[in-house]
Amino acid sequence: MPLSIHELLSIDWLIALVVAWLVIGLAGLLAPRNLSFVGKTLYPLGALVGLAVALVAFHALGETAEIAVLPMGLPDLPFHLRLDSLSAIFLLLLGAAAAGISIYASGYLRKGEGTAPGLQSLQYHIFLASMALVLLADDAYAFMVAWESMALSSFFLVTSDHRKPDIRRAGYLYLLIAHIGAISILLSFGVLQSSAGLGATQGAADYTFSHMRATGHDAFWASAAFGLALLGFGAKAGLLPLHVWLPEAHPAAPSPVSAMMSGVMLKTAIYGVLRVSFDLLHHPLWWWGVAVLALGLASALFGAVFSAVQSDMKRLLAYSSIENIGLLFVGIGLALTFQSFGMLTLAALALTAMLYHCLNHAAFKSLLFLCTGSVLHATRERSLGKLGGLIHPMPWVAWLALLGVIASAGLPPLNGFVSEWLLLQAFLFTPNLPHSYINMLIPVAAAAVALTAALAGYVMVKFFAIVFLGQAREESISQHAHDAGWLERAGLVWLAALCVLLGLFPVFVIEKLDFVTRTLLGAGVYETAGDAAHTQNWLLLAPISADRASYEPLVFLLMITAVVAATFFIVRRFWHGRLRRSAAWDCGFPLQTARMQDTAEGFSQPLRQVFEPFYRLTRDLPTSFDKAPLYRVVVEDHFWYWLYLPVARASEFGARMVAFLQQGRISIYLLYSFLTLVVLLFLVRG
C-alpha cells in the first residue's frame, strides 16, 4: 500500500516531537542550576510537546500503520519505527499524562532538592522521549534501547535525592529488577527472531517486528517467548512476585516522577505484553490466558490488601498501582483466553476494558501522586500518622484529590467505574467457554475482582480521609500548609478533567479503542453495539446489546446533580439555611486532642485482622508498666522472605563457594591449570 505524504505525517511529527523532548532536556544542561529557566521555560515547553504528542497520536488512531526508519542502530538494523493504533493509544496516554505532569512539575520544582534542576530536567525529558520510543519501536534492538533508557533515566530520577540511603536502596532494587526483566525480554526477542538457527543465513534484519510477526513458532517456543516476555514485562509492571521494587521506588521519587512512573511507565509494560502476545505471537494458547489471569488476580488482591495497611501515603498509592496493574493483567488474561477459543468479540470486550483502564489509571493515579506531591511540599511529611485536616489549608488539592479518589475507587460516574464495569461485563459472558474448568474458575475470578474493587474503596477512603479530613495530627503540619500554586493546580485540573471526561463519555472512548482491538484481534465491540449506540443515543454505553447491559454516565450525573440541586433548593426554600458553630461532641471527655484521632494503622486494623495470613506482621505491644509506652507494628511482604531473601542467600552461597577457587596458594592455582589440561586432553582423546 503506497503511503501518501499526508499519511506519513503523523509518525514524522512524532519523531520530531521526541527529538524536541530531547532538545528541551539537553537545554537544561545550559543552565543546570537556573531554577526559573528550567522550571518556567523548559517544563512548560515539555508539557506543550506532550500535548502535541497526544494530538498527533489521537489523529493517528485508526489510520493505516505508518513506518519510519532512522539512520542509527546496528548495521543492517537501523531503528525501525512504526505507528499503529496500539502505539497510538499508548502515545495518547503518554502525551496527555505528560502534559499535565510537566506543567505540574514546572510549578513543583524547588531549590536544593537533590539533583540540579537542569540535570533533572534532562533525565525527565529523556524519560519521556524513551517512553515514546518504546511505543514506536518496531524492531527488537530499538525497543530494547528505548526500554533500558527508560529504566535508566527513571532510575536517576528516582534517586534524585541520593543523599538518603533508603532512596539509594530503592533505586538499586528498582534498576536491578528492571535490568533482569530487560534481559528476559531480550531473550524473548531472541526466541521470536526469525532466523532458523545454526547454519541458516542470518542477518540483523531478522530482528524487526514485521519479521517476527511473519514467523511461526511451535507451541513450545511460542510459550517460551511468551513466558519470558511476561516475566520481563511483569517485572516492569510490578506483577507478582516481581513487585517489590514498586512500593520502594515510587515513594522515593519526586512526586511528578512517581506520577509518571505509575501513570505511564507501568503502561509501557502493558503495551509490551500486548505487543508480544497479540501482535507478534498472535496465536495464544488457552493456558497463557489462564496463567495471566491468575497472576493478575493475585497481584490485584495482593496490591489491594497491602495498600490498605500502609501508613505512608505514597506507598499506599504504589500498592494501589500494583492492584490496578493486576486488574489490567486480568483483562489481558481474559482476552487471551477468549482469543484462544476463537471468541473474538468477547476478547475485544475484555481488551477494551483493559485499555480503558489503562487510560483511567494513568489519569487518576497521576492525579493522586501529584496531590501527594503538593501535600509533601506543604507539610514535608509523607507519613499518614502525622497528616490530617488538609482540606482547610489546601482546598484545591483536596477537592481535586477527591475526584481522583472517587475515580480510583471505581465509583460512578467517574472513569474508574467504566472500566471496572466493562471488565465485569467481560466476565459475565464467559460461561460459553468450551473448557469446563475455566468456566468454573471464571466466577471465582469475578468474585475476586469485585472484592478487589471494594477493597480499593476502603483504601481510597483511608487515603483521602486521613490526609485531608479530620484535624492535623501534628501541630506543625497545619502551620506551614498552603495550597498548590497555579501551575501545579493547572496540572491537577488537567488530570482531574481527564478523569471526569473519560468517565462521562465512554462511548466516544470505546469508539477510539475499537481501532486498537481491531488491529490486534480483528474484532471490536463498538460495531456490535453500534445499532444501540447509533440509533438510540450516543450516550448509552452498551457493549453487546442494550438488553444485556447498559450504562449512561451522563444521565447518571445529571440525575444526581438535579436531585442535589432540587433538594438544596427545596430545603432552603421551605425551611432555612441557619447554622451554628460549636465544638464537636467530646463524649464528656474535655481533654481531647487531635492526636487522639484514629490513625492510619487504626483505620486499617480490621483489615489487618481479616487478611492476617497475607501479611508478615511484627508487633511490639507495650505493657501497662512501660514508662514510655510504644506501640509498633511492622507489616512486611511474605514474598521478600519467600523469594528474594532465599535468592540473595543462594547467590551469597554461590559467592562463598567460588571464593574457594581463589585461596591464594599458587600451587593450587597451578593444580587448576594442570587438571584443566588433563581433563581436556582426556575429553579430546576420549
Binding site: 542509527m72 542502530g73 546496528l74 535490568h179 526466541v191 599458587i666
Partner: protein
C-alpha cells in the same frame, strides 16, 4: 611503510624512554609516542581499508579485518592511557609511592608492552605470536610489582608463574601445530604462518590438531583469564598501578583472545567438528558464571572490575565459540566496547582511589560531591559495562544473547543468572560510592577525565550507530571466524 611505523614507534619509544624515562617530561614523551603510534595505526587502518588485506615482509606479517581494527583499538587505548597516566603517575610520585627510577621503568615498559601487543596482533607467524605474548607478560610483570609492596610482589609473582606456565602450554600447542603442519606444508614452507595454515587447514591431521588446540586454548586461555585459569588476573589488576590495570584489562586480554580465535579458526577447519566451539562455549560460560559470583564479595574496587573483565571475556569467548556471523559480530563488538569501557572505568577508578587514598570500596563515598566528573564517569562507565543501553556493550550483548537463545538455548538461563548477579553486585557497590554524602574535601587537582569521556562517547556511539566501514570490518572478520 605504514606498517613498520606502527611497530617501530613503540619499540623506539621503549628504548628512548628507557634512557630518558626519568626526566621531568617523560610522561609527555610517553604520550607523544603513543600519539604517534595512534596516528600510524590510523594511517595503517586507512591503508588497509583502501587496499584490502596485506601480507608483508615475506608473509611474516599479515593484516586483515580481524586484526587491523584491534591494532587501531590497541593504539587508541594505549594513547588515552598514556594521557591518563600523565597526571596519575605524577601524583603517585608526589605521594612518594614511586621513585624516579621506577617511573623510567614504567614509561619504558609501557611502550614495550604496546610494541609486544602490536606485534602479537600483526604477526602472521604463530611462533612469533607466542613470543610476543610471552614478551607481553614479561614487560608487564615488572609493572605489576611497580610499587614493591608485599601485595604487589605477590601479585606479580603469581602473574609471572601462572602466565608463564600457561603460555608454556601454548608453546607446546604451537609445536604440535607445527608438527601437524609440517606434514602438509613442508619444513620451511612457512609451516607456522597462519595464512598458509589457513589455506590448508582442511588437510591438517585432526588428532594432532585437537591436542594442539587444547594446549593452545589452555595456554592463551590463561592470559584471557578464563575460569579456572584466571587466578592471576584479579591480583595483577588490583595491585598494579591503575594505568597498567587499564591496559591489562583493555588490551592484553583482547590480544590473548585474539590468539585463541586464530587458533580456533584453524582447529575448526581441521577437525570438521564443533569441538573447538564447544570448548570455548564451555570455558566462556563457566567464566561468566563464576566471575559473576566472585563479584559480590569484593571489597577492592579494582579487583572487582578485574573479575568483571573475566566475566566479559567469558561472554566474548562464549560468542566466538557459538560462531555464526551474528555471534562473532557480537563478540568482536564486545571486545571493542569492553576494552574501551573497562579502561575508562579504570581511569575513573584511578582518580577515585587516588583521592580517597584507598581501594576499599567501603571507604569511597559520595564521589559525585568530591568531583562530579569522576563520579559521573564512574557511574556511566559502570552502567555501560553492565550492559545498559544506549551504550555499545548492550548492543553486543543483545546480539550474543539473542543468538544464544536461538542456537544454544540451554546456556541462556546461566547467562541470565550471571548477568543478574553481576548487575546486583557491581551496581550495588558502585552506587553508594558515587552517590550519597562524602566528608572528603574536593579534589585539589583536576582529574584527567578527557580519556574517560572520549571512551564513553565512543561506546555510546557504538551503541547507537556503528560506522559503516567499521561494521564492514566486523562483518568480514566475523565471516573469517565462522
Amino acid at each position: 611503510m605504514e606498517f613498520f611505523l606502527v611497530l617501530g614507534i613503540p619499540l623506539l619509544g621503549g628504548i628512548v624512554l628507557a634512557l630518558i624515562g626519568h626526566t621531568r617530561r617523560a610522561a609527555e614523551y610517553n604520550a607523544l609516542f603513543s600519539l604517534l603510534t595512534l596516528i600510524a595505526a590510523i594511517n595503517l587502518t586507512v591503508h588497509i581499508v583502501n587496499h584490502g588485506p596485506q601480507l608483508l615482509f615475506q608473509d611474516q606479517f599479515f593484516l586483515d579485518p580481524l586484526n587491523v581494527f584491534l591494532v587501531a583499538l590497541t593504539a587508541l587505548v594505549g594513547f588515552t592511557t598514556s594521557l591518563f597516566s600523565r597526571p596519575y603517575m605524577r601524583i603517585e610520585h608526589h605521594h612518594g609511592r614511586l621513585t624516579v627510577g621506577r617511573l623510567r621503568l614504567y614509561h619504558s615498559m609501557f611502550q614495550m608492552f604496546m610494541f609486544t601487543m602490536l606485534l602479537a596482533l600483526t604477526t602472521n607467524n604463530m611462533g612469533i605470536l607466542w613470543v610476543a605474548m610471552e614478551a607481553a607478560t614479561l614487560t608487564t610483570v615488572l609493572l605489576v610489582s611497580l610499587y614493591r609492596t608485599t601485595a604487589s610482589l605477590e601479585a606479580a609473582w603469581k602473574y609471572f608463574i601462572l602466565c608463564g606456565v600457561g603460555i608454556a602450554q601454548a608453546l607446546f600447542g604451537t609445536i604440535l601445530l607445527y608438527f601437524a603442519a609440517e606434514k602438509v606444508l613442508g619444513h620451511e614452507g612457512g609451516a607456522l604462518l597462519w595464512t598458509h595454515l589457513n589455506a590448508v587447514k582442511g588437510t591438517l591431521e585432526p588428532t594432532v590438531m585437537s591436542l594442539a588446540f587444547v594446549f593452545l586454548l589452555v595456554g592463551y586461555g590463561t592470559k584471557v583469564g578464563l575460569v579456572p585459569l584466571h587466578n592471576w588476573l584479579p591480583d595483577a589488576h588490583a595491585e598494579g598501578p591503575t594505568p597498567v590495570s587499564a591496559v591489562l584489562s583493555g588490551l592484553l586480554l583482547n590480544v590473548a583472545l585474539y590468539a585463541v580465535v586464530r587458533c580456533k579458526v584453524l582447529a575448526d577447519g581441521a577437525l570438521h567438528s564443533n569441538l573447538a566451539g564447544v570448548l570455548m562455549m564451555g570455558f566462556g560460560l563457566l567464566s561468566v558464571v563464576v566471575a559473576a559470583f566472585f563479584l559480590s564479595r569484593q571489597k577492592d574496587i579494582k579487583r572487582m572490575f578485574a573479575y568483571s573483565s573475566i566475566e566479559h571475556m567469558g561472554i566474548v569467548t562464549f560468542a566466538f565459540g557459538m560462531g555464526g556471523p551474528l555471534a562473532s559480530f557480537g563478540g568482536l563488538l564486545h571486545m571493542t566496547v569492553h576494552s574501551l569501557t573497562k579502561s575508562a572505568i579504570f581511569f575513573a577508578v584511578g582518580h577515585a582511589t587516588q583521592k580517597s587514598g584507598t581501594q576499599l570500596m567501603e571507604q569511597i563515598r559520595g564521589l559525585i560531591k568530591i568531583s562530579p566528573t569522576v563520579g559521573w564517569g564512574l557511574m556511566l562507565g559502570t552502567l555501560a559495562i553492565l550492559g545498559m543501553p544506549p551504550f555499545g556493550v548492550f548492543a553486543s550483548e543483545f546480539l550474543i544473547l539473542t543468538t544464544a537463545m536461538k542456537q544454544q538455548p540451554w546456556a541462556t538461563p546461566f547467562l541470565l543468572m550471571a548477568l543478574g548477579v553481576a548487575f546486583a553486585s557491581i551496581f550495588g557497590k558502585v552506587q553508594p560510592m558515587v552517590f550519597g554524602e562524602s566528608t572528603l574535601p574536593k579534589l585539589p587537582h583536576k582529574p584527567a577525565m578527557l580519556p574517560v569521556f572520549v571512551h564513553l562517547a565512543l561506546v555510546l556511539m557504538l551503541g547507537l550507530w556503528i560506522p559503516p566501514y567499521l561494521a564492514e570490518w566486523y562483518r568480514q572478520a566475523a565471516k573469517f571466524i565462522g
